[in-house]
């Protein structure tokens, strides 16, 4: 089938105007009601490619089938193969086969750390979970944290020391370095340069500073592609010194984001998401108010977002303005000026929609001075950050604090790299040591880093993969993954975590500390010992060091290392300066560079889980695309999958186009990190997949955005694997995603969204669910930000395979949990976006159970819809019958059973499925089983308990154990959107379980309830909090719903 799925060049049909009346849609095709869309709805696999190439005649087929049927069943009559059982020789302490251990560590990303707890089976880490004690995690993780375990076991990682491309050894490297050290010292370090990424590790900082003291002529530069330079420069300009701003969204009633994707990007994003959603979580009280008392008002915060590229934060906004990047600063100046900040405005003609928007926003902020906060985006200019600081001060915001920056280097990263390149080109750099990073790929194209690098006599690259930069270096030393190394790292607020290894380096990697110890001419010691001694020296005296060390390792945080808040004032001189001139009318197209939501700046390109993860808004996998708005696409004469040439300042790159409703007009977003040549077998770009390299267009004057992009459509097309239309539910989307304003919710009071369960009768036999555990899941759509952490957590926990782009094109991706994205409103005028995670519904009257011919899917006495892989013969009738399309079939042998390193990382509690077997979400039955073992023990103890107090105490322990039982998705979610539990459970204090309470909420509903499948997985409706000056809250419909003001919300 030809993929003319989204044909935005088709003349606008009148139906599209109807989308302002609360209609929710999934794609432009749905609105246009094309035939292609109807095909997608009808067939689960509309793009079915023929797998078997050779033709089979009917006669042969019948003959084969008769023979197979004749001997069918004999496969059961085999002797079990003789197997061995192999114990330890000297068992390590605490390791009990069959029980998992958990260790606390932290993952550094962009220099800052987020604490995690890692589950380890028999010495192998298998699953990453959040650390509830760590301020940047609060028990949650994101997609990148979850997928980092796969990078540990990546067979394409660098495995050996390489010298000029040929195998060498660590010993030889050590020998050469020790020889050179004397030379360096003699020259005082002249010609020696270090290039690192962002560093907050206290140990690494101390080592480098010691080295620079011994070698005063050496220099330390830092660069990584997502520089965050404007944030640093702004804090220096505004506050006089480098200061990090910490936002406390739990204290903010009104939030304005100036192109800041704070819900998914940044070292504090998990905390930000939790705090933000906590202030929006709406729970109606279960009992009506007592006589004489009024119902407590339900409150929510309000989020305004101005953004230049669609993001998750924009999707959660109550009011969103999508504009070109250069307009954001003008808007910021206007808003600041109106609120009394002495800043020069820029002459801009605001559209009527923008004028209303600004006026309403300013009035709202003025009405909530202390509890408003402005968040500037990392990809905006320094001026925007300074304006935000000034605005926050002007409003007297209590929702933010400042701490001294834990980063040791004060210069901007682009400046640092440019200076290094200048020196390299001038021949002043004799030896360059690159600790991490991949500047040959990621440096701005105009610097031509590769060419400058060729003028350096000795280049040493230390990294996880043998990548583009390693190829041009003399020495390559494999780095250790954070799960196999000793180190330390700071969180966004300065809290230090010790990074401890869970496994010895799989491929003989060395940490940067070991390399620096070499250069410092220290003897080689055990890495753990070295770190311990480092910390002993840092801590000095006072108290038992052993106890301190043990506590730090156990908790995952070093006690009292959080930086205290500092009070700062904005220097008025920072606000001086002219405003940018008015932009010329009919301006050129703007290009926006953003890190990819899954593979970040390209460093995770070889991670299959992240490559196959459908990106939150575009739902693309395995590729990047040039994202444009529907109007811009029409103006350029392009449609989905059309290949275009993108030219910026004389550099050209070829890319496919993807039309994204909600993207600002007149700009193109390019995601970085694709089109790589040396990422590994998964990440390397081929003709058919892997995307294009946007770094080739990025120059120092256009690091986040640039104007003057020329787009030239070509004749060919490039298939993009988008999962938006896969496994769609058949039914009006307004029933699948319920959205209303908080005022509408309050007005509706206790009227539930759907008739009660008792009102529906079924012809299938009833089951008594009053006894025992009855598991259920509740997903709060109001809390889901679409970050995909749950999807990858499920993949990690349940050994879900990666299928590759070709199979994704056939709708055969294997994710047990998927996030469905719905839109509402005019697609050309910034539609709303809603996210809905869909796992197995575990229907009480499951359509899949009745049709399995071999009884492979059954209903457990606890309400689970079970899947028994060994019985499944692959008829796929169950998947056919499932109205939610949550069942995934192994059409081919997707699980890689051969690669040894991947075998290590699998969860031993979950079967690795083979070809021909159906699989689906099991509510993490392996976790339920583990909990039930503990609960049965406690129940027996409670039965034997001597006194009622003892019984109560044991009951409380059972409550705790049940609260700790959650499937991987619920555990990973940063906003706690997923709640799992036992419907029948009563806690020690007599309360119902959390999930039961949620099911009784008035805004709880089930998907496709009219089919009477009685699912155990239910949803809570999304609530929004629009500004009454912009929209009438009581008559609001999804998408805005007002015809007379199209194009604004």
């Amino acid at each position: 089938m030809d993929d003319a799925r989204l044909d935005s060049t088709a003349p606008r049909r009148t139906r599209l105007f109807g989308c302002g009346e609360g209609r929710i849609w999934r794609s432009l095709d749905e609105l246009a009601e094309t035939e292609e869309f109807a095909a997608f709805i009808r067939r689960e696999f509309p793009d079915q490619a023929e797998v078997w190439q050779d033709p089979l005649s009917r006669r042969e087929f019948l003959a084969l089938m008769a023979a197979s049927f004749g001997v069918a069943g004999l496969t059961g009559c085999t002797r079990a193969p003789d197997s061995e059982i192999v114990p330890y020789v000297d068992p390590p302490e605490q390791v009990v086969p069959g029980q998992a251990l958990r260790f606390a560590t932290a993952m550094p990303l962009s220099g800052y750390g987020r604490g995690v707890l890692v589950e380890s089976h028999l010495g192998r880490p298998t699953k990453i979970e959040g650390n509830p004690d760590h301020p940047a995690s609060l028990g949650a993780t994101d997609a990148i944290l979850q997928a980092s375990i796969l990078t540990l076991y990546d067979p394409d990682r660098a495995k050996e020391v390489l010298r000029r491309g040929g195998t060498s050894t660590w010993g030889q490297f050590v020998g050469e370095v020790r020889q050179s050290v004397a030379t360096f010292r003699q020259r005082g370090g002249r010609g020696l340069r270090f290039l690192t990424e962002t560093v907050t590790s206290p140990t690494l900082t101390r080592q480098l500073r010691s080295l620079l003291e011994i070698l005063p002529a050496a220099r330390w530069h830092h660069y990584e592609p997502i520089t965050q330079d404007s944030r640093r420069e702004a804090s220096r300009k505004a506050f006089g010194r480098p200061v990090n701003t910490i936002y406390h969204f739990d204290r903010a009633a009104r939030i304005l984001s100036l192109d800041a994707d704070f819900l998914s990007v940044g070292p504090a994003s998990l905390r930000a998401a939790r705090q933000f959603i906590d202030a929006r979580r709406v729970r109606a009280p279960l009992e009506p108010p007592a006589a004489g008392q009024s119902a407590s008002a339900l409150s929510m915060n309000r989020l305004y977002v101005i953004e230049s590229s669609p993001s998750i934060t924009g999707a959660m906004a109550d009011h969103r303005l999508a504009v070109r990047s250069e307009r954001v600063e003008r808007l910021a100046r206007e808003i600041a000026a109106r609120l009394g900040v002495p800043i020069a405005r820029s002459e801009t003609a605001w559209t009527p929609a923008e004028e209303r928007w600004i006026a309403a926003l300013v009035a709202d902020l003025r009405a909530h001075p202390g509890e408003s906060v402005i968040v500037p985006g990392d990809f905006q200019s320094t001026a925007v950050h300074v304006i935000a600081h000034a605005l926050n001060e002007r409003l007297g915001s209590t929702a933010l604090t400042h701490v001294e920056s834990p980063e040791p280097l004060a210069t901007g990263q682009l400046e640092s790299l440019s200076e290094l390149v200048r020196e390299m080109r001038a021949g002043e750099v004799d030896t360059l040591v690159l600790l991490g990073g991949n500047p040959v790929l990621t440096a701005p194209a105009d610097l031509d880093f590769a060419e400058a690098l060729s003028r350096v006599n000795l280049r040493v690259h230390h990294s996880l993969y043998y990548d583009e930069t390693s190829f041009l270096c003399h020495w390559h030393v494999p780095d250790t993954h954070y799960l196999e190394t000793w180190s330390d790292v700071c969180a966004f607020d300065g809290t230090v975590s010790i990074i401890q290894p869970l496994i010895a380096p799989l491929y003989g990697g060395k940490s940067p500390h070991q390399i620096l110890d070499l250069l410092l001419d220290r003897p080689e010691t055990d890495a753990g010992e070295a770190l311990r001694e480092e910390w002993r020296a840092r801590r000095g005296g006072g108290g038992s060091f052993d106890e301190f060390w043990r506590t730090a390792l156990r908790q995952g945080v070093v006690a009292e290392s959080t930086l205290p808040p500092v009070s700062v004032r904005v220097d008025p001189a920072a606000l001086e300066g002219t405003a940018p001139p008015a932009s010329p009318a009919g301006a050129d197209i703007e290009v926006i560079f953003r890190p990819d939501p899954a593979i970040w700046d390209g460093r995770f390109a070889n991670n299959g889980w992240l490559q196959e993860l459908p990106r939150p808004l575009t739902k693309l996998t395995w590729d990047n695309a040039a994202l444009v708005s529907p109007r811009t696409a029409r103006a350029l004469g392009v449609e989905n999958e059309r290949v275009v040439d993108l030219e910026l300042r004389g550099r050209t790159v070829r890319a496919p186009v993807w039309v994204l409703p909600g993207h600002p007009d007149g700009s193109v977003t390019l995601h970085l990190g694709y089109g790589r040549e040396r990422a590994g077998r998964v990440g390397n770009a081929t003709e058919k997949r892997g995307g294009f390299n946007a770094y080739r267009l990025r120059t120092s004057d256009a690091m986040a955005s640039g104007v003057g992009l020329i787009v030239r459509p070509r004749a060919e097309r490039y298939r993009l694997a988008c999962t938006q239309l896969h496994q769609m539910l058949e039914g009006p989307a307004e029933d699948l995603v319920h959205v209303e304003t908080i005022q509408q919710f309050s007005a509706r009071a206790a009227r539930p969204l759907e008739p009660s369960a008792e009102a529906r009768r079924s012809m299938y036999p009833e089951v008594d669910t009053s006894r025992g555990h009855q598991w259920a899941l509740q997903i709060d759509i109001n809390a889901c930000v679409g970050c995909n952490a749950c999807v990858v957590a499920c993949q990690a926990e349940n050994n879900i395979p990666v299928v590759g782009k070709e199979q994704v094109l056939n709708a055969r991706e294997m994710h047990w949990l998927r996030i469905d994205t719905y839109h509402a409103g005019d697609p050309e005028e910034q539609p709303d976006t809603y996210f809905e995670p869909v796992p197995c519904m575990h229907c009480e009257k499951a359509p899949c159970e009745f049709v399995c011919p071999v009884g492979a899917t059954t209903h457990s006495s606890e309400g689970l819809n079970e899947m028994t892989y060994n019985r499944c013969v692959g008829t796929r009738y169950c998947s056919n019958n499932c109205p939610y399309k949550v069942r995934r079939f192994n059409f081919l042998q997707y699980s890689d059973l051969d690669t040894p390193s991947l075998q290590l990382g699998r969860n031993p509690d979950v079967t690795v499925r083979s070809r021909g077997v159906m699989e689906k979400c099991t509510y993490c039955v392996q976790r339920i089983q583990r909990a039930r073992v503990d609960l049965e023990e406690l129940a027996a103890a409670r039965g034997d308990a001597a006194s009622p107090q003892q019984q109560l105490e044991i009951h409380r322990r059972m409550d705790d154990r049940l609260a700790a039982l959650e499937p991987a998705c619920a555990q990973a979610c940063p906003t706690r959107a997923i709640t799992f539990g036992d419907l029948n459970w009563k806690t020690a204090s007599g309360a119902v379980s959390a999930v039961k309470a949620l099911q009784m909420q008035p805004h709880s509903y089930a998907l496709l309830a009219e089919l009477n499948t009685q699912p155990r997985t239910r949803y809570l409706a999304r609530l929004v909090h629009p500004n009454p000056d912009l929209v009438d809250p009581l008559s609001w419909k999804p998408g805005g719903g007002r015809e007379e003001h199209p194009g604004e919300r």
Binding site: T78, E84, G772, N870, V925, Q929, E936, E937, A939, D944
Partner: protein
């Protein structure tokens, strides 16, 4: 015209049609019999081990508790078999030079583990949890037989699913008080059903849960 078929064909056809049913049934019965025979199940068939370990000597003769070696049988899914270090706790002092124990000493010296031949094994699609069985009162001898009288180790039960279901459908027939779990000589008393029902009640065992597929298969 000459008859094509001899009159004896009448008898033959009647016999074969009538007998075909029996033939098929006999073939099926034979298949089942073979499947349950020691050839396939290895019941009562001792396997050759690198070291001829005698449970009879160690457990009955010396009186070593089962849990000295099988350490995680009460807590973990996996019962645990002794590491070389456990063997060497005694055999570094006694029988230090015995030939039969040479593999143990070699393992301790070189750090290469002893590769025992597995006697009780379940297919990979079965997830069995030792701890919950032992804690609920299934004795060792119920499934493993009287191990303390075995000079070498062999299976005494088939470990087939039909055998597991015998107990899972009627646990009251096999449960014993927890303090008798390690007792190899325990026999079900005359009023086992009554006692068993009491134990099921006290332990809060949900019998319908025991027959759920996901209890063992996941």
């Amino acid at each position: 015209m000459a008859q094509i078929f001899h009159p004896s064909m009448n008898t033959l056809s009647k016999v074969s049609v009538f007998g075909a049913v029996f033939m098929v049934l006999a073939a099926l019965w034979l298949g089942g019999w073979i499947q349950r025979s020691p050839y396939v199940t290895a019941v009562s068939v001792p396997r050759e081990q690198p070291v001829p370990f005698s449970h009879e000597h160690h457990a009955a003769g010396l009186g070593i508790d089962c849990r000295y070696c099988h350490t995680s049988v009460m807590d973990s899914a996996f019962a645990g078999i002794p590491s070389t270090k456990t063997c060497m706790t005694c055999h570094s002092q006694i029988w230090k030079t015995a030939d039969a124990l040479a593999p143990v000493r070699a393992s301790w010296a070189t750090g290469v583990p002893i590769r025992w031949k597995r006697v009780h094994d379940l297919p990979d699609f079965v997830y069995f949890h030792h701890g919950i069985h032992v804690r609920n009162g299934i004795g060792c001898s119920t499934c493993h037989g009287r191990v303390n009288s075995m000079p070498l180790t062999w299976k005494t039960e088939t470990l087939y699913m039909e055998w597991c279901l015998e107990c899972h459908r009627q646990p009251e027939k096999f449960l014993r008080p927890r303090d008798r779990v390690l007792d190899m000589d325990w026999r079900p008393p005359a009023d086992q059903i009554v006692l068993g029902r009491g134990l099921v009640e006290r332990l809060g065992i949900a019998k319908e849960r025991l027959s759920d597929c996901s209890t063992c298969h996941r």
